[in-house]
């Protein structure tokens, strides 16, 4: 192992007690159960223990209580957690973090897992002069947002969702399940513009309409009128007691940029997840890796595992080389998976595309194949294919030749007829129809006599009915 015998544990400070920061501490505790290699201090601004942000739309839908989405309590002798405390400054020369209670935490290694916050578009009424949300406006980013929205969730009350991305669609589904009247506004030409193609969006919008969600794509919001609703650029006003803003997120990079660390859209990291300061690392939604992955939890968890291996010294050469982002909508009754290249022309060079559109059935599939590998797909209402294709995409395994069977979730037709052996009536004892007819000719007239002579029906018993039917056929009369 890589630590020097008797060396004191390294001090690791994690800023952020969200899904990724907490996962880092959990991984570190797993890799270093006695706290001999690292001492991990996690600080988080929220007062709650860490919880699973991915399931907030499920809390909104009533699938979970807030307690049920709590993350495993961090334990172990090497881990301490402080909630309700914000990091206000970072001194990379002295290697300390200043907290808003005035204290200072020294570190040997710092992990930024500060996440992202909801972006409030500059629309009158949506963003208050103090940059916070306007009256009646809420994001869906943390438990407090969720509880605020639930307080408004009276059946029949109107609500507007601004932003037709994944979170907006999940929120809309949850609110409609609560009995609210939901309108959804998307400024792009179609919903989930980044993840799916227009054909899929059309079918998806129809499915939402059938659920009672009023979808307005390619419409720009003009202003939010508290107590009334959202006015669109065409003058229409969508009624709303509340406005849920799901129009993207912005990485929380202030702590890093103020400390002179290189920041672009997020805190810039390399494959070691190190920032421009080698002692400072960033993971999750606040980090910007050339291979992408921000905005999804799975890449953040992978980054947490890699960094925990590096900083505990249990996997000092582990690297994170990027993600293959995959979108899976969590909306009751709607099965949507999307990943990879789905926006290119169907006649794009080297790309082979299969498309099925079934608006009546609420189904749509688009499969893009390049050199026998799945490079992209949109699958709406094809759950079996979605499960198979996302694993093929993940592992880079070749795609089966029968694309249609694959999309329909059917077994591939065998390429050549398998030899038609004599059909067995009793598989357990390899008894054929001929064997049973022969036994009948030899005088066996009851199921028991057939069993005695051929062993048929004595295994799993699944062929009892078939044997009785054969007997009754041979005798021309029903057999008991």
């Amino acid at each position: 192992m890589n630590t020097v015998q008797g060396a004191p544990p390294r001090r690791v400070v994690v800023v952020g007690n969200g899904m990724v920061g907490a996962r880092f501490a959990e991984e570190a505790a797993r890799l270093d159960p006695d706290g001999e290699r690292v001492r991990v201090s996690v600080v988080g601004t929220e007062h709650h223990p860490a919880y699973n942000r991915v399931l907030l739309s499920g809390v909104l839908a009533g699938d979970y209580t807030p307690e049920q989405i709590r993350l495993p309590a961090l334990g172990g002798p090497g881990v301490t957690v402080r909630t309700g405390v914000a990091a206000t400054a970072l001194d990379t020369r002295r290697r300390t973090v200043t907290l808003d209670d005035g204290s200072r935490l020294p570190y040997d290694e710092l992990v930024l897992a500060t996440g992202a916050r909801a972006a409030l578009p500059p629309i009158p009424g949506v963003r208050a002069p103090d940059e916070g949300p306007g009256e009646g406006v809420s994001a869906l980013r943390d438990l407090e947002d969720c509880q605020r929205l639930l307080a408004l969730a009276r059946p029949g009350a109107p609500v507007v969702v601004l932003g037709g991305g994944v979170l907006g669609l999940e929120a809309a589904r949850g609110l409609v399940a609560r009995g609210m009247r939901v309108s959804l506004v998307e400024s792009s030409p179609w919903i989930m513009r980044r993840q799916i193609d227009q054909g899929a969006a059309r079918v998806l919008a129809a499915s939402y309409a059938a659920l009672g969600v009023d979808v307005h794509s390619w419409r720009v919001a003009a202003r939010w009128i508290p107590g009334t609703g959202l006015e669109l650029d065409d003058g229409r006003v969508l009624p709303g007691d509340a406005l849920v803003v799901t129009a993207g997120v912005r990485a929380n990079t202030e702590l890093a940029s103020e400390a002179g660390i290189v920041v672009d859209r997020g805190v810039v990291v390399d494959d070691r997840l190190a920032t421009s300061d080698a002692r400072v690392h960033a993971i999750g939604d606040c980090a910007q890796h050339p291979g992408g992955g921000a905005g999804l939890v799975q890449p953040g968890w992978e980054q947490a595992a890699v960094l925990a291996g590096r900083l505990t010294g249990t996997a000092p050469h582990a690297t994170y080389t990027g993600a293959r982002p995959l979108t899976r909508l969590k909306a009751e009754g709607i099965e949507l998976t999307a990943f990879g290249r789905v926006h290119e022309d169907e006649d794009a060079q080297d790309l082979e595309t299969v498309t099925i559109s079934d608006p009546h059935g609420g189904r749509y599939a688009k499969l893009s194949v390049c050199e026998e590998k799945v490079v992209g797909a949109v699958l709406l209402g094809f759950p079996e294919a979605a499960a198979t294709l996302s694993q093929l995409y993940d592992t880079g395994a070749p795609v089966p030749s029968d694309r249609l069977a694959l999309l329909q979730g059917l077994p591939t037709a065998a390429p050549e007829p398998q030899e038609a052996g004599e059909a067995l009536v009793c598989r357990c004892n390899a008894v054929s129809r001929n064997d049973i007819e022969q036994a009948w000719l030899d005088g066996a007239r009851t199921r028991e006599a057939i069993a005695d002579r051929t062993r048929a029906t004595t295994g799993c018993g699944g062929c009892v009915r078939d044997v009785r039917a054969l007997l009754s056929g041979m005798q021309g009369t029903p057999v008991g």
Partner: protein, 711 residues
């Protein structure tokens, strides 16, 4: 005519043996609750093994590793063994001699083998092939309930359920008569393959979930997640009869169905549908969760079974009549074999060898000083892997096992066996392992001696003698007794009469978890249904845990478990997952069933199930000979195209030997708790096998694919 039970699996179907016109025994099924008058083809043909042409009837001995085995007499063989054991022990201490047993041995043999190791050899080095079978379920059951009895209820209870989950169990193939109990319930089958059982599930309106091998734990967590969101958990039961729900849930909370789908390949909608189907039946207290080897034989098998038990506990199934959790034990005496002391850490009565009170009790029954009993030894694979190493045993005595075929990473096991100073095998045919031994002792088979077996329900059964062993063949008890005497033990300490051993086993197990003290030959012969514990001359315990679980506080434990990847993941060099399993016509290493003409004729050689596309990419047609290669070795097998197969997975039955042995591929990573190897997940590649050359140096015509494949 003799009524007895089948020599093979843990269903222990009842059968009648009667001499036929040629004097050989014939088999007929007999009515019994587990088999309901049925038998599979293994059972029907089981008597043939008694008279196979290569049945051993004289001891075999080779003077040194370079020479051949030659027939000898019993005294010469046993004297040779005893002399070598004594000299190794004098040179290198008692742990230089090891014992390896089997889950097919009767209770009396298992018990005597453990006693022989601890007293006659004074070695701690004893374990058995049951480690490769039920150990993960046993470990998880013990930590959840405080006690492990595979099914803590009679099998017949299952027939009345609305829903039965079969996680990694394929009884339609492995124990067909059990399916008679599963014709009414809706089945939820968890298996990477569309197995015969999975097909029955679909035909009966149930579900088949096909996870990527090695992801069952994630799937079980996802099902718990979906069950809770669906509102199916029994909060009252969880509150009153269990502890640990919250901590277990915190792990399951991370496995929402869509994420579970990404890892397992099981559609989220299928996970929800299964949770709802199971949950609705659980609300009516009419559901069972059963696990088999498919979900247990992993380096995380114990945690995986814990995840299934957590699901069952959250739904309020165990400890109630009409519902529950059970393990479908596989080997004939897989249950009894794990209770009476042939495990490295165990004394009779399912006692722990490091428990001072257990040591006092057993030493008292054996008439020795507790201090004379050795402590815990190595587990099965660790024991095999230590053979012939500087700190490891130099001699091995093998009873009822064929590890050259059944252990993982056969090349490594074979090398370790070859490095021994002395290998002694007691067997009735020259199995692949026996063939490498220095001394082979011919022993009796099931129908040639009496004894007791404990079936998958924890019911103790009488195995009756129907015929005399061939001349020159001894029983295992006779062998152990004769060896013990040569090693300086008093003869009366190692009785050869099974009933005498049963009575002593009863005393040794008295007060232990698996208490057999009330089991008598008379009660068994009367046909009483004796489910352990049997603590008094009248007691039997068909259903455990109805009032309380076996932990001191009476509550069951939900154990917090997290998913982790298998020991070996696929990569560009080894892009496929190989998983292994069983065929209807063969049993375990195949040493018995490959010698039965009818069974051998139906399945004469290893095959590999492959998706047609996966095969085509490897340049393989139906019926072609494929080579499956892992980092540890290769297996040559005929290609069977299976359109329902997962694209990323190939399947091989493990009943074949040599180049056809599936365990040439398997990974010896071990479960931290049960020490179960990673049998079910190996990263492999698939390619055409090199041509087999005939004696004339041309490719063998039998080697070319049959047009249209093989049936």
């Amino acid at each position: 005519m003799t009524t007895t039970h089948c020599p093979y699996c843990a269903l222990q179907c009842a059968m009648r043996l009667e001499p036929g016109t040629d004097g050989r025994l014939t088999v007929r099924p007999a009515p019994f609750p587990t088999n309901r008058g049925g038998l599979c083809r293994k059972g029907w043909t089981s008597a043939e093994v008694l008279t196979v042409p290569d049945r051993l009837t004289r001891p075999l001995l080779r003077k040194d590793r370079g020479s051949d085995l030659v027939e000898t007499d019993w005294d010469t063989a046993l004297d040779h063994v005893a002399e070598r054991l004594l000299s190794l022990r004098a040179e290198s201490g008692p742990d230089s001699v090891a014992v390896f047993g089997g889950g097919g041995l009767t209770n009396e043999k298992s018990y005597t083998l453990g006693k022989f190791a601890r007293l006659a050899l004074a070695t701690s080095q004893i374990d058995y092939n049951g480690r490769f079978c039920m150990s993960s379920a046993a470990a998880a059951g013990t930590r959840a309930f405080g006690l492990d009895r595979g099914m803590p209820f009679p099998l017949t209870d299952v027939a009345e359920a609305e829903v039965v989950v079969l996680a990694g169990a394929n009884p339609a193939e492995t124990m067909p008569p059990m399916m008679g109990h599963l014709s009414a319930p809706a089945l939820i089958v968890i298996d990477p393959r569309r197995s015969a059982t999975a097909q029955v599930a679909l035909d009966q309106g149930g579900l088949h979930l096909a996870p990527r091998p090695g992801t069952d734990l994630a799937l079980a967590l996802g099902l718990l997640h979906a069950a809770r969101v669906g509102g199916w958990c029994d909060d009252e039961f969880v509150g009153e009869r269990t502890t640990g729900f919250d901590a277990a849930w915190e792990h399951a909370a991370a496995w929402w169905p869509e994420r579970t789908e990404q890892v397992t390949g099981v559609p989220a909608s299928g996970i929800r549908a299964a949770a709802d189907l199971l949950g609705r039946a659980a609300r009516n207290r009419s559901a069972y969760v059963l696990t088999g080897r498919g979900t247990e034989q992993h380096a995380k098998g114990t945690d995986t079974v814990s995840a299934w038990i957590n699901l069952a506990l959250a739904l309020g199934l165990p400890g109630r009549r009409g519902s529950g959790y059970g393990c479908v034990t596989g080997q004939g005496n897989g249950q009894g074999g794990r209770e009476h002391g042939q495990k490295a850490d165990q004394l009779p009565g399912y006692r722990r060898i490091d428990d001072p009170r257990a040591r006092d009790h057993v030493a008292g029954v054996w008439g020795v000083d507790p201090g004379a009993l050795p402590g815990p030894g190595r587990s099965a694979f660790e024991l095999l892997d230590a053979l012939g190493t500087p700190d490891g045993p130099r001699a091995l005595l093998l009873f009822g096992s064929n590890p050259v075929v059944s252990a993982p990473h056969t090349a490594r096991v074979r090398a370790r066996l070859d490095s021994l100073d002395l290998l002694v095998a007691a067997d009735f045919v020259l199995s692949e392992t026996a063939a490498t031994a220095d001394v082979v002792l011919p022993v009796a088979q099931w129908a040639e001696e009496t004894g007791t077996m404990t079936n998958l329900e924890g019911r103790v059964l009488r195995r009756a003698r129907a015929t005399a062993p061939p001349d020159g063949v001894w029983t295992d008890l006779e062998v152990l007794s004769a060896l013990a005497v040569r090693l300086g033990q008093p003869a009366q300490r190692f009785p050869t009469d099974p009933d005498t051993v049963l009575s002593e086993l009863g005393r040794a197990s008295a007060g232990g978890a698996a208490d057999y003290s009330g089991v008598t030959p008379q009660r068994l012969d009367d046909g009483q249904a004796l489910y352990w514990p049997v603590r008094t001359p009248t007691e039997s315990t068909p259903r455990l845990f109805l009032d309380s679980f076996a932990h001191p506080d009476g509550r069951a434990r939900l154990v917090p478990v997290a998913h982790r990847p298998p020991a070996e993941t696929t990569d560009p060099d080894y892009p496929l997952v190989a998983t292994t399993g069983r065929l209807m016509g063969h049993y375990q290493s195949g040493a018995q069933t490959r010698r039965v003409a009818e069974l051998d004729g139906a399945e004469p050689e290893a095959y590999v199930e492959v998706h047609p596309d996966t095969a085509a990419r490897a340049g393989l047609a139906a019926g072609a000979r494929a080579r499956v290669t892992s980092r540890r070795g290769h297996t040559d097998a005929r290609v069977r195209l299976v359109p329902t197969a997962r694209l990323d997975t190939v399947f091989l039955p493990f009943h074949f030997a040599g180049d056809q042995s599936a365990n040439n591929l398997t990974h010896p990573a071990l479960d931290p708790t049960s020490r179960m190897p990673e049998f079910k997940v190996s990263a492999v590649r698939l390619e055409p096998a090199p041509p087999v050359l005939s004696s004339r140096g041309t490719p063998d015509p039998a080697d070319t694919p049959t047009p249209g494949g093989i049936s």
